[in-house]
Symmetry: C2
Subunit: 243 residues, 2 copies
């Protein structure tokens, strides 16, 4: 099973101005693809920080999915920083420049040409939304930060990823307090140590309860564990919803 | 200015099941407090991973804000992992146990007692919502992952943080394509290098445009830079909204 990480580059996330949506989107996609998502990092627009983090993730994972910092403005420094990280010339990519010139026509200018500057010898990632391409350097997929563009780019790279058995899950939600179920649930978790069994309490205006998530690749085992969880909840005289 | 990082511990974020909201909440609070938020990490429920990451963030930052993994079930391993990381006994915390026993009364059980187990010699973080306390170990503030509980806990630790000058920002939004403004905007960014000037294009169903964010601690400088950004947009014959 391939191992992956997600790298979000952007001061706007760390300042709290923007709620990140890309980690969640990519995480879901990786689960569907059967690729193990092992960590996500949010870092600032700083050349040395980008270099250090990119090299570390490059070493530790099969795939790194990077979002943000490849636009047309002065604060977009991801491409330049990755050229620096991997010690490659930072230069105009001929095919990217062709795409940009064709798309922008008379509106092509020096700022837009910036989006055609990349580390040498990268493979382009198609951008069906706003044309300016992303790129692949080593095992790092460098995509835009705007969610709609990132999502469109991600679709185009799926064919390049080596999939595993999809990871799926069942969620069983009830209103028994988590602390009442914990000991019985641990027994199920020990019996099904090949699965990941998580317990997520919630506290909302209209009540509290817990969602038990049974997660893994083997549908039969998930089904069996789900049945045990449901029996456990029934033994606490509560009903449940399975999703 | 104090430097901080955020640590989200939880498989449910990396599986895509749960959209993280805690990074955004804490990031906003840190900006208001004038504390520099330098990175955020999302890691899985794994003892060695928690140890390695906690020690690294502990070394690199003044404050680490950790969310998740301190509940009553088998998958809550943050407290145990931090005891392991800092080589401290993992044991019942007398005051935490008192709080839990008082709150749960007859419903107190072994699972709930788990929430009273902590590394030795930690300071408790009050939990106004569901009582089970968080704790402070070294410079790490260990809080719950459920957003409403984390937020209530965060309020109680604010008095322990050394604030700086609050970081504020103005957002100027217009419908000029980012690539048309980029060169002029870069000149403003160079003139105001004491501020952070970001450019965030958006692509929505009802149109596209860009938000320019002028961010910093000096209100006068923010005001001046904002005026220049507005003049720049007017010179491109567009209107703008300042927020």
């Amino acid at each position: 099973m391939k191992k992956a990480s997600i790298l979000i580059i952007g001061n706007e996330i760390l300042s709290g101005r923007t709620q990140d949506l890309n980690i969640n989107y990519i995480s879901k996609k990786l689960a569907e693809l059967g690729i193990s998502n092992q960590e996500a990092r949010v870092i600032c627009d700083d050349k040395e920080v980008i270099k250090k983090t990119a090299l570390e993730l490059n070493q530790n994972y099969d795939y790194v999915f990077s979002c943000g910092g490849i636009g047309a403005t002065h604060d977009d420094i991801t491409s330049e920083s990755l050229a620096y990280a991997f010690d490659r010339p930072f230069e105009y990519h001929p095919k990217a420049m062709e795409i940009l010139k064709t798309y922008y026509g008379e509106r092509f200018n020096d700022a837009r040409a910036r989006m055609g500057m990349m580390p040498r010898d990268v493979e382009l990632i198609d951008n069906p939304v706003s044309k300016a391409p992303g790129f692949i350097i080593e095992n790092i997929f460098v995509m835009a930060g705007v969610p709609s563009i990132m999502q469109a780019m991600f679709e185009t790279i799926i064919a390049k990823l080596v999939p595993g058995t999809p990871i799926t899950y069942k969620t069983i939600t009830c209103s028994v307090p988590e602390g009442n179920l914990a000991l019985d649930l641990e027994k199920i978790a020990i019996e099904f140590s090949d699965l990941e069994i998580g317990s997520y309490p919630f506290y909302k205006k209209d009540g509290y309860g817990v969602s038990i998530v049974v997660r893994g690749s083997d549908l039969n085992r998930i089904e069996l564990a789900t049945q045990l969880v449901c029996q456990m909840i029934e033994s606490h005289k509560d009903t449940f919803i399975i999703e």
